[in-house]
Subunit: 420 residues, 2 copies
């Protein structure tokens, strides 16, 4: 047997039914909030991701040389391609651009539980606004999505890279030394962070204050006592989002997302219901357009792990079973085959989802198949009934059968199904 590539997945009809339900929900909420769907290619020049994240990313993604010697990558995430698309083609559109996409991404690392080499993200970006309203809008969508998914224990961890950077400025650490500190904070290596600050000439007292700030968690109260634009801005974002109805927000000033292109708000969302793989979202405001050769533009965005949202919907019982068909038609002998196909054509034309028998099996086997397909009714074409202009209509839920005139099949079914 030829195997599937390790770390990739095939999706059965049941899987796809579930995935489409989540996609439908994501499209609906995106449109309700005025976001527009876009799509970028799976293939990008590897340079795009190296420019964004540094050469280390080459070890974590699928990349290869094409026949022309160009380094090509399978996209590991969606923000860089979207900003690349914006810089190349979308700068003339009215601002702000509110965009979303639901697409597959690829990473080349050892597969482990819940982490696949081909995975899916729901990505949302606002391009062109530097106002607190834009960050608030993003949090509102995230909060509402969690509510619609039934995630009641969800935990937002919201920070602002400017708060720690402001404290580091005041403590005399040059800006080009701060990124390393933010990376240590992001990884929760607070002892190393302290040692790094001291080695960079920050005083014991300042280092202690900064680490204490990094550990502040809670509601807007944790911002009390902090000065500076960043904490005022963050306070305003939270206030706006709460006015808009967000009810799950909480702060964690140690969330700094250790990448240089984040410029302000940063946040992560956990759904403790999901256990070890609880982080469902990461986001923040960032500056990437100029890195990719465009004019500077402020952006803010977030990405949800699609596969984790599916898990969430499973846990909260939000997924309907796969839809079955409405009608299955079978011919008792081959002599009724043409009539079987004709009746199927009529039923389908009337909007009734219909299968007819393709196997020529016994009636009991055919009915078993119909049942496996969730058929609501079966239409049985027997020689004797047909000779009398009749067919047998079987209610697959209770097994009741009744003879109906062959000319009234569609009307009868329409009535029974109270059709669409």
């Amino acid at each position: 047997m030829i195997q599937r590539v390790r770390g990739t997945r095939d999706f059965t009809p049941q899987d796809m039914s579930r995935r489409r339900q989540l996609e439908d929900l994501l499209r609906r909420i995106s449109r309700d909030y005025g976001y527009r769907e876009i799509q970028t290619p799976v293939l990008e020049n590897a340079e795009l991701f190296v420019t964004k994240s540094g050469p280390g990313v080459l070890n974590e993604m699928y990349s290869f040389e094409d026949k022309g010697g160009r380094a090509i990558a399978l996209r590991p995430e969606l923000t860089a391609p979207i900003i690349r698309f914006y810089v190349n083609d979308l700068t003339n559109l009215p601002m702000p651009l509110k965009l979303f996409c639901i697409s597959s991404c690829f990473r080349y690392e050892e597969p482990q539980s819940g982490r696949y080499r081909e995975f899916y993200q729901y990505d949302v970006e606002i391009i062109g606004s530097e106002k607190a309203e834009a960050d608030a809008e993003l949090l509102l969508l995230a909060d509402d999505l969690c509510r619609r998914l039934g995630l009641n224990e969800v935990e937002f961890r919201i920070g602002h890279v400017g708060i720690i950077r402001g404290l580091l400025d005041a403590a005399g650490m040059p800006q080009d030394r701060q990124s390393e500190l933010l990376r240590l904070v992001d990884k929760k290596k607070l002892d190393e962070a302290r040692a790094y600050m001291l080695s960079e000439g920050v005083s014991e007292a300042d280092a202690g204050d900064i680490l204490a700030t990094c550990q502040k968690k809670g509601d807007r109260e944790v911002l009390k006592g902090l000065k500076g634009e960043a904490s005022e801005y963050l306070e305003r974002v939270i206030r706006l989002a709460e006015k808009g109805g967000a009810s799950n927000l909480s702060l964690d000033l140690g969330v700094v997302r250790g990448l240089d292109y984040y410029t302000g708000l940063v946040f992560e969302i956990d759904a403790p219901e999901l256990g070890a793989e609880k982080q469902i979202c990461g986001g923040g405001s960032y500056a990437l357009a100029e890195l990719f050769g465009g004019q500077p533009v402020q952006s803010t965005g977030m990405a949800f792990g699609f596969d984790r949202l599916i898990l969430a919907m499973e846990k909260t019982g939000q997924l309907a079973p796969e839809e079955g068909i409405e009608l299955f038609i079978l011919a008792v002998t081959p002599a009724q085959s043409e009539e079987m196909v004709r009746l199927a054509g009529g039923a389908r034309k009337a909007g009734i989802s219909t299968e007819f028998d393709l196997m020529g099996r016994s009636m009991s086997k055919s009915l078993k198949y119909a049942s496996s397909r969730g058929a609501r009714y079966a239409l049985i074409l027997g020689e004797r009934e047909m000779a009398a202009g009749k067919v047998l209509l079987r209610d697959m839920d209770n097994g009741e059968q009744s003879e109906i005139g062959i000319g009234s099949v569609v009307d009868e079914l329409r009535q029974r199904l109270a059709v669409r």
Copy 2:
């Protein structure tokens, strides 16, 4: 600027609105016919496609060695992955399996008009039936889809590889020499086909008869005078499909699809409306499961080019414009920002698709943006009106404005929009 990879595309919001409309139509018709959606990974072991199509395929697809030295390919088509999935995991499901998928595929050839390196297919497969009913069912879906797409000039070219093979058998050509002949016929190289037959010992008269048969086109009448199972089978497929309502079917016995795994029915569909890129579909019945290490199973399937179907919908005026938002809310001064966000939250909760201003621009600029987003109404929050508990509701279609109480915004909009 970092460029997009050559031969790939970004899709704007307008593009995506159109593509989703086509996807919705394809999902709806697939479900009406009882097909179930599946999905396979973008990455496959290259061996899969080499096994199906021979080593030549390596030159036409993206393939690369992963870090473990395994040859990986980006799927160039969907049938092989689906049958691989079936052989690996789905053999225990009740037969027949009626499956579809809508997915991207990749080919590595010089990009040209209408041919992209990343492209999309709508693929339909029936696994497990060897009856004429299965082939007829496929043709019915194809015919209905063309009708729903408004393609009135569509031309089916239906053949059966068994007809020419039967004539070659009778003319004494060994079966292992026949594939080369079918490839020549498939490429319409009839002079070379004649020379090949003569060189293989087929008589002048037989070669002439065979080439005449390859040129037969038309309705079921063209099968008159042909003997053998294949032509009887084909006649039955067409008769069944016509009973089921198919109205576009026509035969072309020179269609043989030059690949060895086709076993019976073969067909192509042209939409002359599309000009040079008129072929929208290819299909047929085939045996691949055993090639991939599974038990033999008869299958029949077809693939439509998604991009060509979009073109078709454009030409036939089937595509609705991108949906706009229902409401845009703006604050005349920052003092009304919180109320703006609060009202947006209420409207969204009521199912009204809503944006609020993220830019803090002048009213006229904000209204221009709202108009670009297709907003049906704008809600204007001015200081004076707000002090009196009022806001201004503007009908964006005709510019009429009226003051309404701030507490009745949602009710008023619901009435006006006769909401969902």
